[in-house]
């Protein structure tokens, strides 16, 4: 094997249980976003755009779709002779099957994957977030600071700081304290779950953590506090830009709506930092003489005969006559009949909505359309 300077480990086992029925059959990183993407496309595209060509993707929960989606990584230009993308599911050893019990145990069980590349640095990522980031700059910073570990941080609103893992630093941005979900936060710099480790430190501490029976084997809860206790050099890397955890139906909807403004913080059109995805190869979208489309994003393969306002439509969606879609997200291949009204809702992929259906929220809560709802088992309105 050719030695690699930096290898990325992408944690993609997230269950995303607050996304309700959207993650019933697929892992959170595979949830559709932004009209043509899946959440994991952002992290994989960041890797390839940052010049990182060796990525281990750790899957566990509902991996079927995610595994086939990633394939050999060609969509992200990660089908390489040396390195490239490797899906790393949990495996059985002679004595037992080892499920990934925490983020640290997932990496620990794949130390052999890392050992074959003998990397100098390991970049730990999560496949749950929407953002564009140049990891190469973070690595340069890590090297310049001669850090043992560098953690990427983002400023969050003070009111929300107690929901995150908060880092306190000195003036040189060296991390002095880490507090997981503090009730009285001293700072509003939250961990984005992106770490760069020196390989030796990572290996040593993961092995140490594995021997600790009281550990929950989590980077935030166990590894980082242990490193701080031992006075290792942990530095904060402040990130500026769009970053969103789309962990709930509400935040998934919000992140989609964020794309629609004329000035949006997440520029999907930027040529120098393309977000790649598996392309469905469908014909151009067709807008009939009756179609009205305002402030929306629409993907290939859609057929639109109704009115679309402030909405995001994925590939292959059909919208019937006199139908109004407002402030909604319609996922791939959904078919919406004539004379429907859908407002503030997320319609999952391949759902068929019959003519005349009205789905709208009476409060401001976003409706996630389900089969049960359409079968009339309980009313949507």
């Amino acid at each position: 094997m050719v030695k690699k300077k930096c290898v990325a480990m992408l944690l993609a086992g997230g269950k995303g249980s607050r996304l309700n029925s959207l993650t019933k059959e697929l892992a959170k990183p595979a949830v559709p976003f932004g009209g043509k993407y899946r959440i994991i496309d952002f992290t994989l595209s960041n890797c390839t755009n940052s010049g990182i060509d060796t990525v281990g993707v750790l899957t566990q929960y509902q991996p079927l779709l995610l595994n086939s989606y990633i394939g050999i990584g060609s969509a992200w230009d990660l089908d390489r002779k040396d390195g490239g993308v490797t899906v790393l599911p949990p495996y059985a050893e002679s004595s037992e099957v080892k499920w990934y019990t925490g983020t640290a145990s997932a990496i620990f069980q794949n130390l052999n994957y890392l050992k074959q590349y003998q990397p100098e640095y390991v970049l730990i990522l999560s496949g749950d977030h929407i953002y564009k980031m140049n990891y190469e700059k973070m690595l340069d910073y890590h090297i310049e600071k001669r850090a043992d570990v560098t953690i990427s941080l983002i400023e969050v609103p003070w009111a929300e700081a107690s929901r995150f893992g908060i880092m306190n630093t000195n003036e040189e941005l060296r991390i002095t304290e880490f507090e997981e979900k503090p009730s009285n936060p001293k700072n509003n710099l939250a961990s984005m779950g992106i770490y760069i480790f020196n390989w030796n430190i990572l290996k040593e501490y993961l092995e140490m953590d594995d021997r600790d029976p009281n550990s929950s084997h989590d980077f935030g809860k166990d590894i980082i506090p242990l490193l701080l206790d031992e006075h290792k050099k942990l530095y904060a890397y402040p990130f500026k830009g769009y970053w969103k955890d789309v962990g709930t139906v509400q935040s998934l909807w919000e992140a989609n709506m964020d794309l629609l403004g004329e000035e949006c913080d997440l520029d999907l059109f930027e040529n120098e930092w393309r977000i790649y995805s598996v392309n469905p190869n469908q014909p151009p979208q067709y807008l009939s003489p009756d179609a009205i489309v305002k402030e929306s994003m629409i993907n290939e393969g859609c057929t639109i005969e109704g009115k679309i306002e402030k909405s995001v439509l994925f590939q292959g969606v059909t919208i019937g006559k006199n139908t109004i879609i407002k402030e909604s997200v319609i996922m791939p291949d959904a078919e919406i009949g004539n004379n429907c009204l859908i407002e503030k809702a997320i319609v999952p992929g391949e759902v068929k909505i019959p003519d005349g259906t009205v789905i709208r929220s009476l409060d401001d809560e976003i409706i996630l359309v389900t089969e049960e709802m359409l079968n009339g088992l309980y009313p949507a309105i």
Partner: protein
């Protein structure tokens, strides 16, 4: 049928009537339908019909065609065995639109000799079609034909032929003795010593050979009866993937009866038009009955009616450009149109 057929696409066709659009590219690579190149239609038909070995015979100006096809990966033709082959013509002077020129084939005899496929399906490159070749193959064998020419239901030849590879090799080798220079010569020779059959194709098929029919065929795509015959879920027309984001519309956007590809920014009005990938249309601009190719930029308050903009054209704010349904105004690739230039 899968391993029995070779696909041969003759991409040497040149029509003077298309000059403005093909002076820098092979006709096979002419953009069509917002995101395709003309060759995608026959190539996808072949691949969807199970053909696993396709040879392209291009002539001049094949840079854009090679760029488009690449290794054949998008059509799943980047294979260890068989796959996509490219045989540019060694003959510089034009060979007057002979589909399946034996001289051109003769320069690449090794391909035919090495192929294990028993039959060859030869086609031109400029037909807009989504065709299943399997029924033709069965028909050809049942009728015990030597050569089948595919004809449209109106009787005209579609410049597509089905022939045994061994017979094709023989025709190429004996071209000087027989005087046959191409497939057309053989099928139009009434005294030919072969059983020549005509298969009648009833599906949608248009051969692009002039700006006029390029324009009208494109406009007919907006008729759902037409595009439903071309864009089938089970037999997709495959093209080069571009990784463009979905198309974005703003508050002022007005669109009706339009086909719009990905990666566009539509801030103006689009009516009865086909808009390709990555096009920007500014506020207050009105685009009617137009074909706008990839990456064109149309600034604010322009008015375009019956215009074909080739790739990378920039139209400056306030420009007024019009053509007619039978003589669309064609603007060449990469040029800039200013408001004052046409006044």
């Amino acid at each position: 049928m899968k391993r029995k057929l070779l696909g041969v696409i003759d991409a040497t066709t040149y029509h003077e009537d298309l000059e403005d659009l093909v002076n820098h590219r092979s006709l096979a690579a002419l953009p069509f339908g917002g995101r395709y190149r003309i060759i995608d239609f026959i190539l996808s038909s072949m691949v969807n019909s199970g053909i696993r070995s396709v040879a392209i015979f291009p002539k001049m100006q094949y840079r854009s065609l090679m760029d488009h096809l690449g290794s054949g990966k998008n059509w799943d033709l980047n294979r260890k065995r068989d796959g996509l082959f490219f045989f540019p013509s060694p003959i510089v002077e034009s060979d007057e639109n002979k589909i399946g020129s034996f001289e051109h084939f003769a320069a690449n005899m090794d391909y035919f000799n090495r192929s294990t496929q028993e039959y060859a399906f030869i086609s031109n490159c400029n037909t807009i079609i989504n065709m299943d070749i399997a029924p033709i193959f069965e028909w050809h064998n049942e009728a015990q034909c030597d050569i089948t020419e595919i004809r449209h239901q109106d009787g005209r030849s579609m410049e597509m032929y089905l022939i045994k590879t061994s017979l094709l090799i023989k025709l190429i080798e004996k071209r000087h003795e027989t005087g046959y220079t191409c497939m057309k010569d053989v099928v139009t020779d009434l005294s030919a010593a072969y059983t020549i059959c005509h298969y009648e194709y009833n599906g949608y098929a248009v051969t692009i050979d002039s700006i006029d029919n390029y324009f009208s065929t494109s406009m007919k795509l907006l008729d759902s009866k037409v595009w439903k015959q071309l864009f089938l879920k089970e037999q997709p027309i495959i093209t080069k993937v571009k990784d463009e984001p979905p198309t974005k519309y703003v508050q002022e956007s007005v669109v009706n009866n339009a086909m719009i590809a990905n990666g566009c920014h539509i801030s103006g009005t689009v009516e009865n038009s086909i808009i390709a990938r990555g096009v920007k249309i500014g506020k207050g601009a009105v685009i009617k009955n137009c074909i706008i190719m990839q990456k064109c930029q149309i600034e604010e308050n322009c008015y375009l009616d019956s215009v074909i903009l080739d790739k990378d054209v920039k139209v400056e704010a306030g420009t007024y450009l019009t053509g007619t349904a039978h003589a669309p105004y064609v603007i060449r690739k990469g040029t800039k149109q200013g408001a004052l230039m046409n006044s």
